[in-house]
């Protein structure tokens, strides 16, 4: 590191210090994850060279791991922006230390959602054809538009509340960091007019981002629901996917929070109450997710429509039963048992529930994509889909690259919003003095 150490004392040094210093374990993790990413790059070049024949895909299972990951990552992206926007609008004070960590997940994970679609293309070199020859009746094009808008909006929504903190770092650093922060802080000096504008802009974005976020996962579900394939062609898919997205999103925030809290020793800011409150939200989503899953499956089972029931049986009793029932355990039984109990809704408890939900929601995406394709209407010969080493390597690479980028973010920007904490303390102090004055008057 060059001379970018703090000038002068800072009350929030606990938050800024990890940003400006790089420890040994950080380097070790970077190298480990970097190796995984490099391996994935090799696998990707391999796939580009030899074609998608190097995957485990076949006819009729034309979509597999990549599309599962696409839906999963886009789902996780609902972590940040949506949750943080809702909490901001309802003025939940406890949101302050967690919003940024959530928003970063959104922006970073969106790249991997889009990236997985590119990995899935037979001709990635022609991806631009989607722009040059767009066909607006294709739900994939709706996807591109809504995800593009979402990426722009959520990046902006992440950046706006960062400005005062960037300015704070600008004033504390020298060298390349100082130049970097100067450029990004866009002349922020903290005048009342700037504050007024900033808060207004954040308020507008928080509202604008909600319908965009809802539209994104609705449209992702429509990629499946707009076809007439059994158990894809379902009106419930829009809201079902949105609920699943928020569900896996909250789980992702809790995991990220727990790791950042431990690694950067931020126990003072990320307290058990945050885990408790998010745990309660996760519990609510567990119930909602179960309600949707139950409604979807009961309708199909009761109808006994031959083509649909084929997929249903494959999912519940056939070759996909292990995925399905593991999903039920990890998305319902485990989180419900842990989170419904006050004594287990601790930091550790919510983290265990979140890891379980993350695994379960990935399985849910898989159990939606593959069984329908494995049971086509036409009586053609079908094949079991087993992902190849290329697909598994690229999946590992996506997760590793995501963690790596997240780590990189924590070394450039504070992962807890300092000015929002200051604001909270100031208003608490104002409350106290008001109370004292009142007491004196009485």
């Amino acid at each position: 590191m060059d001379g970018s150490f703090a000038r002068g004392h800072d009350d929030y040094e606990a938050i800024t210090r990890p940003v400006l210093t790089v420890g040994r374990s950080f380097r070790r993790w970077t190298m480990g994850l970097g190796a995984v990413v490099l391996w994935a790059v090799f696998a990707w070049v391999w796939q580009l060279w030899f074609g998608l024949g190097e995957t485990g895909l076949n006819r009729p299972v034309y979509w597999g791991l990549y599309i599962t990951n696409f839906v999963f990552f886009i789902g996780v992206s609902h972590a940040g922006t949506l949750i943080s926007a809702i909490l901001r609008i309802v003025n939940a004070e406890w949101r302050r230390p967690i919003t940024r960590m959530a928003e970063v997940i959104t922006v970073l994970v969106l790249f991997f959602g889009v990236g997985n679609v590119l990995l899935d293309l037979g001709r990635p070199d022609r991806a631009l054809d989607v722009v040059l020859h767009p066909h607006f009746r294709s739900p994939l094009l709706w996807d591109i538009m809504s995800i593009g808008l979402y990426l722009a909006a959520s990046s902006f929504y992440l950046y706006l509340p960062l400005i005062p903190d960037i300015a704070r770092l600008r004033d504390q650093t020298t060298g390349w960091r100082h130049r970097f922060y100067t450029r990004l802080s866009v002349g922020w000096t903290g005048t009342p007019r700037q504050w007024h504008r900033l808060e207004r802009a954040i308020g507008v974005m928080a509202i604008a981002v909600i319908p965009i976020a809802v539209s994104v996962h609705t449209v992702v579900s429509w990629v499946f629901a707009m076809t007439i394939q059994p158990m894809w062609h379902s009106t419930i898919f829009g809201p079902y996917f949105v609920v699943g997205a928020i569900f896996s999103g909250i789980a992702a925030i809790i995991i990220a929070m727990a790791i950042v809290r431990k690694v950067y020793a931020l126990e003072r800011y990320l307290q058990p109450i945050h885990f408790n409150n998010l745990g309660l939200l996760l519990l609510l989503m567990t119930c909602l997710w179960f309600y949707f899953t139950f409604a979807e499956h009961l309708t199909v089972w009761y109808g006994q429509e031959p083509e649909e029931i084929k997929v249903f049986n494959a999912r519940l009793y056939g070759p996909f039963a292990p995925y399905f029932w593991t999903m039920v355990v990890t998305c319902l039984v485990v989180p419900f048992a842990i989170l419904a109990n006050n004594r287990t809704r601790t930091v550790r408890g919510t983290v265990v529930a979140s890891i379980s939900v993350t695994i379960g929601m990935w399985l849910e995406r898989f159990a939606i994509v593959v069984p329908s394709l494995s049971n086509p209407r036409a009586p053609i010969h079908t094949f079991t889909y087993v992902p190849s080493w290329v697909e598994l390597s690229l999946m590992a690479g996506c997760f590793a690259a995501f963690v790596l980028l997240y780590m990189g973010f924590t070394k450039l920007f504070p992962c807890v919003s300092i000015w929002e904490l200051q604001q909270e303390e100031a208003s608490a102090r104002a409350d106290d003095s008001a109370r004292v004055e009142q007491a004196v008057e009485v």
Binding site: G51, L52, P60, G122, R123, L140, T382
Partner: protein, 225 residues
């Protein structure tokens, strides 16, 4: 404008698969290995599948190719219009525009759209025997039966050169031409005098999965009970 259609009499079909072979050669569909076939990578524009066409009795082997729907579920979902319904009712593929997302293969209820998993290859002596009228598809794009569209283009040019209108018998796909049992008839379904439209009027005629609203232009004639 003609509305090209294919009628297949399952009572005459002997399931000899001559149409399958003729199609493969006509359209430069690459050979496959048993290993590729066993992992679901077989490319074939026509395939015999067992379909229960009668209320009782065993399933019938039925030649299955692109059903050339009038309302194709595959064309709507294509993000680049690389597959579309052309003016004569043929569901066309633009190989050079296809990005290989395989959305159309998944949207097709007949599972007749195929993906090029790798660069097609022929054993050396066969390379010279490829059909010069049909482009060889690169890896990574989707393909399927085109009703031998290149034959339509050739027939139309021939008719124009001879200064006459295109007649029904000028244009016949390779599978129909080959069928030794004469179980297939091809022609303009809108022309009341064509043999195809006469066959399609048969009380035995059915369009597969027509309950989905796809309106296929491949018509099958059920076997007599």
């Amino acid at each position: 404008m003609a509305r090209w259609g294919l009628v297949i009499d399952l009572d005459r079909c002997t399931a000899c698969q001559a149409c399958v072979v003729a199609c493969k050669h006509e359209n430069n569909v690459p050979f496959s290995t048993p290993a590729a076939s066993n992992s679901g990578r077989l490319l074939t524009w026509i395939q015999l599948v067992a379909v229960e066409t009668r209320s009782h009795g065993p399933a019938t082997p039925m030649p299955l190719m692109c059903q050339q729907c009038d309302r194709p579920p595959c064309t709507d979902v294509c993000p680049t219009s690389a597959t579309y319904l052309n003016a004569e009712g043929i569901v066309a593929q633009i190989y050079a525009r296809c990005i290989g997302c395989r959305y159309c293969t998944n949207a097709c209820p007949y599972s007749v759209k195929l993906f090029n998993w790798q660069t097609p290859a022929w054993p050396e002596p066969m390379t010279a025997l490829r059909n010069p009228d049909v482009s060889v598809r690169p890896k990574g794009v989707v393909e399927k039966c085109t009703f031998c569209h290149h034959r339509l283009m050739r027939a139309r040019e021939q008719a124009r050169a001879e200064g006459r209108d295109l007649a029904n018998e000028d244009y016949v796909p390779a599978c129909v031409q080959t069928c030794p049992a004469e179980a297939m008839v091809f022609g303009d379904l809108d022309d009341p005098h064509s043999e195809a439209s006469a066959w399609a009027e048969s009380p035995r005629a059915f369009r597969w999965m027509e309950e989905l609203g796809t309106r296929p232009k491949v018509v099958y004639l059920r076997e007599g009970e």
